[in-house]
């Protein structure tokens, strides 16, 4: 159980490890984008952890990074093709950040630091925990940005029409501001 909960809170990939900042900052303009990015990362993380963990005794140490990259790239390409075929709008919104999951440090980091040394079941729990942690992080971040910048969450209007949207929250600067506040909040909670 420890493997699973760690990624959800104590070693949260976004707010505690500060990994995978590129998609965190770039695609969190709306909650839908954040959620779909999270889903893609969970899928890739789950299956690459599975394969890496299965192959940990076969892969020579010298070429392990190349092997991880091949495995991750294959699953990312799969997700990319899948998104293009079934949810083209989301695929368009995510743009180059979907293929960029290949070099996402959360995934490479979990493969290198965990899956390559641990048995399959533990690796899968770890992957799910980290993936879900990343997803709720993105969802929280993107909801705040969408709410303040566009009055909506997941397309449903929450704030009244009288509220003047803060355009900066949709712009890149809004991502940095929100992330900073959330990391500070997380640190504050942990310090108690």
């Amino acid at each position: 159980m420890k493997e699973f909960t760690r990624g959800l809170w104590y070693e949260h990939p976004t707010f505690r490890q500060l990994l995978g900042m590129c998609p965190t900052l770039a695609v969190t303009t709306s909650a839908v984008n954040g959620l779909s990015m999270g889903a893609a990362v969970i899928f890739v993380l789950f299956f690459s952890s599975l394969i890496v963990s299965l192959m940990k005794n076969v892969v020579p140490a010298q070429v392990r990074i190349a092997v991880y990259t091949v495995i991750i790239a294959a699953f990312v390409t799969l997700v990319d093709i899948f998104f293009k075929a079934y949810i083209p709008d989301v695929s368009k919104n995510l743009g180059p950040y979907l293929p960029l999951i290949i070099v996402n440090c959360i995934i490479l980091g979990r493969c290198e630091a965990f899956a390559s040394k641990m048995p399959v079941i533990k690796s899968l729990k770890d992957a799910l925990g980290m993936g879900l942690g990343f997803t709720w992080g993105l969802f929280l971040l993107s909801s705040i940005r969408e709410l303040l910048g566009n009055r909506t969450i997941l397309g449903y209007q929450i704030l009244p029409a009288g509220y003047d949207p803060l355009i900066i929250m949709i712009l890149p600067a809004g991502a940095f501001l929100t992330l900073g506040f959330l990391v500070a909040l997380m640190n504050r909670i942990e310090q108690r």
Partner: protein
């Protein structure tokens, strides 16, 4: 070595096979019109249409069945062909092509240079310092536009910008590249002229820094009323002028500093 080869090669092969299969299965067909429109477009990705490149423009054109503002570099011919492909009436796009002109045509011999500028040899760098030339409106001449032009139509010779009318497509990238905003895109008409000066200072101050600048004397305005207008001590040719062409010729010859130029 052997294991590495087998593991990497094997993995690569398995995944490649899986992806090839899925790619086939989940393929998204593109509208064949997009490829056809793309083949007609010039393909220099200048962005003058307002989209990020020819491909993005072609996709939007086919999707919305609208040519928007049209392809500037391609001109009427290309816009007619694109209209044909997407089923719009061709021929509604007038065949007026555009060209860039530079509003400072002073050469090295005209410009006064009292500063010994030794910074980076780019216009944008020289523009934020005391500057390489005394005139604060005119062409610095280090050729930021030369580097920006996608079709190599611009060259700088003797400190003077030279636009090759055969090569220039009128895409407008040079407009953005010039830190002093000297370029404008105008319609390519044989009778069109333009004023090759951008200095809005008084005659005295223009004379101090340049021997080829517009001094705002207003002679052109008197010779060809309606065609020229002097504002802020600077003459400007009205590109929509449809009056007597001989008057423009007279104004050109009477200009004391000879700063009215033909477009080609």
């Amino acid at each position: 070595m052997g294991t590495s080869l087998i593991v990497l090669g094997g993995l690569g092969f398995i995944f490649a096979a899986l992806l090839a299969f899925l790619n086939n299965k989940l393929k998204v067909d593109e509208d064949p019109d997009v490829a056809r429109v793309l083949a007609v477009l010039p393909g220099i990705n200048c962005g003058a249409c307002g989209f990020s490149g020819c491909k993005a423009y072609a996709q939007k054109v086919v999707e919305e069945r609208n040519i928007f503002n049209g392809c500037l570099p391609g001109g009427g011919v290309v816009n007619d062909k694109v209209s044909c492909i997407i089923g719009l009436d061709a021929g509604q796009n007038s065949d007026i092509r555009k060209i860039a002109v530079c509003k400072c045509m002073a050469g090295d011999i005209n410009k006064r240079k009292s500063n010994n500028y030794s910074g980076p040899l780019t216009c944008s760098a020289a523009n934020i310092t005391a500057g390489a030339i005394d005139c604060v409106f005119g062409c610095i001449g280090y050729g930021d536009c030369v580097k920006a032009c996608p079709v190599n139509a611009i060259s700088v010779k003797d400190g003077r910008v030279n636009i090759d009318a055969d090569k220039c497509l009128g895409c407008g990238i040079c407009v953005k590249s010039c830190p002093r905003e000297l370029f404008s895109i105008i319609e390519r008409r044989a009778e069109s002229v333009y004023v090759g000066c951008n200095n809005k200072d008084s005659a005295l101050n223009v004379k101090k820094v340049c021997s080829a600048g517009c001094i705002g004397c207003g002679i052109c305005q008197k010779m060809a009323p309606g065609a020229f207008k002097v504002e802020n001590m600077l003459s400007c040719y009205d590109q929509s002028y449809k009056g007597d062409e001989s008057k423009i010729e007279i104004a050109k010859s009477k200009c004391p500093t000879k700063c009215i130029y033909d477009i080609v």
